[in-house]
Amino acid sequence: MTNEQVKSRLIEKFGEALTDFEESYGMLSFHAPKEMNLKVLQFLYDDEALEFRFLTDITGVHYPAQPGAELAVVYHLQNLRTRTRLRFKVFTSVADPKVFTATRLYESANWMERETYDFFGIDFVGHPNLIRILNVDEMDYFPMRKEFPLEDQTRIDKDDEMFGR
C-alpha cells in the first residue's frame, strides 16, 4: 500500500477537512481538525483497505508561536499487514486544550495520553483516569511547554561549590 493510496482514500472520505499532507522521510503525515481525531482514527481502524490498527505512539508538541493552535497531539499509527506507517496531528489552543480520548479504541492510549497530559496539559475528554503519571501529583504546571526553559548553564548567581561546577 503506497502513501498515495492512503491519501486518496482519506480524501475520498473526509474531503477538504484534512490538510497539510506531506511525506516526511517516507512517512505520510497530515493535519486534522481536533473535533475529528476520533473519526479519523476510527476510519483508519475500520476501513478494509487501510487497517491502521496498531497505535504506535501518542505525544504532544508545544508551538507557542501559533496563536489558537499552540498545542499539537501527534498520533503515529501502523498497518502491521502492509507495514505502512502514518502520522497525523491535531491542534488545540492552550486556553481550551480539549481533545477526545482514544482509549475506547486502544488500551495503549491510556498511559500515552496520561503522559501527554502530564507534560503538556492536554485535557483528553472522556479519559477514564487522567492524572499525572511521571511527575508528582502536586505539580501545578506542565513542564514540557516551552515557557519553562531549562536552567541557563552559564548563570553565576549560584555558589559553585555548593553545586559542584
Partner: protein
Amino acid sequence: MSNPHISLPQGSLEKQTTTLNLGPTHPATHGVFQNILEMDGERVVSAVPTVGYIHRAFEKIAERRPYFQIAPLTDRLNYCSSPINNMGWHLTTERLLGITLPKRVEYLRIVIMELARITDHIVCNGVVGVDTGAFTGFLYIMEFRELVYEIYEEVCGSRLTTNIGRVGGFERNFTNTAFEKIERFLKEFPKALKEFETLLVRNRIFIERTQGVGAITAERALNYGFTGPNLRAAGVDYDVRVAHPYSSYGDFKFDIPVGTTGDCYDRFLVRGEEMWQSLSIIRQAMEKIQELPADVYHADVPAYYLPDKSDVYTKMEALIYHFKIIMGETEMLPGELYNAVEGANGELGFYVISDGGRSPYRLHFRRPCFIYYQAYPELIKGAMLADAVICMSSLNLIAGELDA
C-alpha cells in the same frame, strides 16, 4: 458463613481482600515500580501500577543539547542493552541528516546491537529463572554478559552505559582483541546457552510456574501496544528489523521466533530462540566484515563526525569542524522524523522535530516498556502473588526506560 457466637464488624467476613504494596523498591520487582495489589488470600484481585519514581526529564533535557550530546541520555533508557538505544539514536540522526554509512560500519553496528540483545535476554531469562527459584542458571550465564561487557570495553572504554557510537560510525576502530573476544563469545556461549535452556525448558517446576501464567491473546497484546518478544510470544511476527529494515538488516538471514499462548513460558522460549538467531546474525556479520577493508569505521562526513585529535592540531579544516561540532553549530536540516529500531524488548522509536536549530525542537522516545506495562493488571488478575512476580520479570520491564 456466619457464626452467632462470634460478633465481628459488619462486612469484615465478606470483604476478604487485603491491600498489599509491592514495591517501589522490592527485590522481586527488579527496579523501581510500585504495585498496589488488592489480594484475596494469595490471589490478586486487582493491581494499580505506579511509575515515575526515577523520571529524569530526558525529553526536556534533549531540547537544549546538541544532537551528538543526546546520545548519553539514550544509553540510560534500557541500560541492559544500552548500545541498541544508542545506535537507534545515531541511526535517527543520520537519517535526519541523510548520511549513508559504509557497509563495514553497518555490520559492526549490527554485531554490537545483537550482542546487546543477547545480554538483555540473558538478564531477562536469567531473572525469570531466579523468580521461579533457580538461581543456578542466572549465575551460570551471567559470565557471558561479563564477556560482552569486555567487548564493549575494548571498543569504547566503558561497560554499562556505553555511548558506543558516533554520528557517522564509531569513535575508534575495533581492535584485534575485540574481534578475538567476539570470536571467543561465539565459540563458548552456545554451549552455555544450551545448558541453560536444558536446565529450565523441560524442568517440571519451571513449567508449572510459568505455563498459563500472565497469558495474553494476540488481539489484546496488539491493542495494548505490545512489541518485541512479548508480542511475538502471543503469536504476531512483527519485528522492526524485518518490517522496516535499518542498518543493513536486510542482508542477513534470520527467523523471527513466534510463540502461541503469550504466557511467561512462551516469552521465555521466544527470548531463548532470539538469542540463537542473534548468534547466527553475528556469525554472518563477522564473515562479511572479513571481506571488507579493515580501516573503515566511520562515514566520510567531516561536518558531523568529530575529527582525529592529531588532525585538529595540524589541519585548519579539521579544527573548524571540531569547533563547530563541539559548540553544536553544525547545520541540521529542518524536518520531522519517526525512526524506530527493534530494541531488546520492543519497538524503540525516536520522534524528532528539528527546526534547524542546534538541538531538537521536540524529541519523544517511544519506550516499549512504558507502553505495555499498562497491561500488567490484566495479565495478573486472578493469579497468585508469586505469579505476579514472574510475570513482571518475564515482561522485561526496565525502570530506566519506563520512566525516561
